[in-house]
Symmetry: C2
Subunit: 424 residues, 2 copies
Amino acid sequence: MTIKANNPALSSWIDVEKNSDFPIQNLPFGIYSDNQVNHHACSAIGNYIIDLYELANCGFFSSLNLNKEIFNRSSLNDFIELGKTTTRALRDRLSVLLDGTNKELQDKKEIFNQIFKLQSSVKLLLPVRVGDYTDFYSSLDHATNIGTMIRDPKNALMPNWKYIPVGYHGRASSIMVSGTNFHRPKGQMKPADAEVPTFGPCKLLDFELETAYIIGKSTESGESISTEQADDYIFGMVLFNDWSARDIQTWEYVPLGPFLSKNFASTVSPWIVTLDALEPYRTEGYLQDPKVFPYLEYKGNKNVDIKLEVAIQPENKEETVVCRSNYKYMYWTMEQQLAHHTVNGCNVNVGDLMGSGTISGPDPSEYGSMMELSWKGTKPLKLNDGTERKFINDNDTVIMRGYCQNDKVRIGFGECKAKLLPAN
Amino acid sequence: MTIKANNPALSSWIDVEKNSDFPIQNLPFGIYSDNQVNHHACSAIGNYIIDLYELANCGFFSSLNLNKEIFNRSSLNDFIELGKTTTRALRDRLSVLLDGTNKELQDKKEIFNQIFKLQSSVKLLLPVRVGDYTDFYSSLDHATNIGTMIRDPKNALMPNWKYIPVGYHGRASSIMVSGTNFHRPKGQMKPADAEVPTFGPCKLLDFELETAYIIGKSTESGESISTEQADDYIFGMVLFNDWSARDIQTWEYVPLGPFLSKNFASTVSPWIVTLDALEPYRTEGYLQDPKVFPYLEYKGNKNVDIKLEVAIQPENKEETVVCRSNYKYMYWTMEQQLAHHTVNGCNVNVGDLMGSGTISGPDPSEYGSMMELSWKGTKPLKLNDGTERKFINDNDTVIMRGYCQNDKVRIGFGECKAKLLPAN
């Protein structure tokens, strides 16, 4: 399938800097608010957000037969629910309106300020209402690193790891949009040399570099989604920081998995980059050995080459990039994760969020968490301001970024950032 | 605090059988539909449901200053969101209208059929939209039994078990109301003696006898709820069957906990019995040793004496009660669970559902799952129809019931039941 809006030859009449995350080939979706607007759906180009409600108001989507109120909601769920035929047509139409050779919108200078606002002047909100949130654990290097550190280097991977895309349910209520700060969580921890646990602010607060995909089509209980159908059920992707309190996690996670060590906050980037926009960056996946069960087999290139980085910015200091990784390192693809998640008949809903799990690459500079980067705190990282980090300090801001780049076009995700406030 | 509607001396002008779950002292909340009604909020008395929207329409709640449309929704969330002062006043008002000494409603014979419908003639729907679902693991006997079976009888409990109310996040999308049947899930299993896993319909399908409570008041991220405040945040309770595929669970649950073994279906009873109505049945809790951390300490009687039973009904056969347990056996109280869940600042929302975990008593007849009742399948149960069960067979219906009884009043939950259909 050719996706019209992805055409690398397109160039917009809106000025887009060379390294912008938002060229005309991206056109992600989000929700914004400002002094005038409570919540409108929007897209992005260059430094601007594009108000989709106002575009609809001005009749620019009349050919699409949409209820414009769908853009006047506090989330994109109802829009996404319309289905890919419609959301794709909308993205194509946006692409036409922004194309330098098209004059329809370009010539209407009097409405420019009604449609376009500087992204820096608005507040981007959580783009979807997340019903259920699942987090996978699908990076081979991450699982191997963690297994090596906390269990046995010779048997770092659990016996199930190469058979099933291991995952668990997370807490949807505490998913926050980028820019939402939160307090260091309190909880129980048991130092390895202690007889009994202690209670207090966690000491080992970590980020986890992840992406997530947003479900674009619901299923009924009892239905399964095949790897072949999966892309039809995935609307798009975001960056995701699965904040983790390592010391709380170590004490609580046996036998039912992480709970309070994760559910205090997860940060999501505000723009959903459509799966369509990511198609040009698909790349080959891992050779999976042992061979997977038939319901997990897939055809074609299903990994995605998304360059990822994490920076730590101490209060009032410059940032330091501490990790550069890539989504292509995933052992299990999104399509396999979704096929596995539903093979038992578990139903999914529009807006559900599926996290990748920490994305680590093979090189130590590519590790996606402080746990790995500082190797359990044994190798502190030096920051540009001269200080050291084993884990995240109070008032540190953690910033994740991601983008795809080929020889023609670069499209990005914007930032996923949040500041860790002291325990309250 | 005296709760007026609990007055044991009250008696309704509606006929209520002696063993009914729904005397005038209960007045639970639910949502129903029938040929005339898409979804109205309702309560119950004797064999009838009480249409709250129609009661509001007829002006019977005019003193409460409510927007009657709150009863014309597909869930109780907006009603519950009004807060306990309002929902309590509504239940009190219902209690007055149904009281035998009051004539307001009793004398309006012409509207009886508009307000009252036989419960057997309507469909009861899922009472709340569950945002997040958490399941705890708070029965000492259950945790001890499972630990004894699958780990080490001498160290049956994990070291953390008596320090923290262990819990994990479950899947909200697959919570179904009583009466919704579902198919046996498929998945990966690895028999103990096999080298590699197999794929197919699960063989060890189990129920878990639980209750759950519904959150009645939301918090913001960063807020914690103390054990003392907790009751104010709990709207009421339901019966809950946390269906479990034991063989899928054994293979998948390390290290992140249960996932596909649980998220295919959970069955909830349709009536939310208010925490107010349960107050007369509060009872003493476990002596907790070791002493818990201050944030988990509580005062007063916080367990609840709810008699519970589970029956298995093979297709077209009579049922057999296979377990009689009691909610009073919980080691960790609801108030402790909620204090723990939020001590790290995790926010909760109205409609969130918190499962108790399997409720087993000390006697083998009180075990709350087939895993325990048949001791891993080694002691099959004999049913009344002469057949045996180690786990649940295709086309078996599992029925859970629960009620509180003191020397004056019995209030119940109705049934929580579902039939296991063959794998599809």
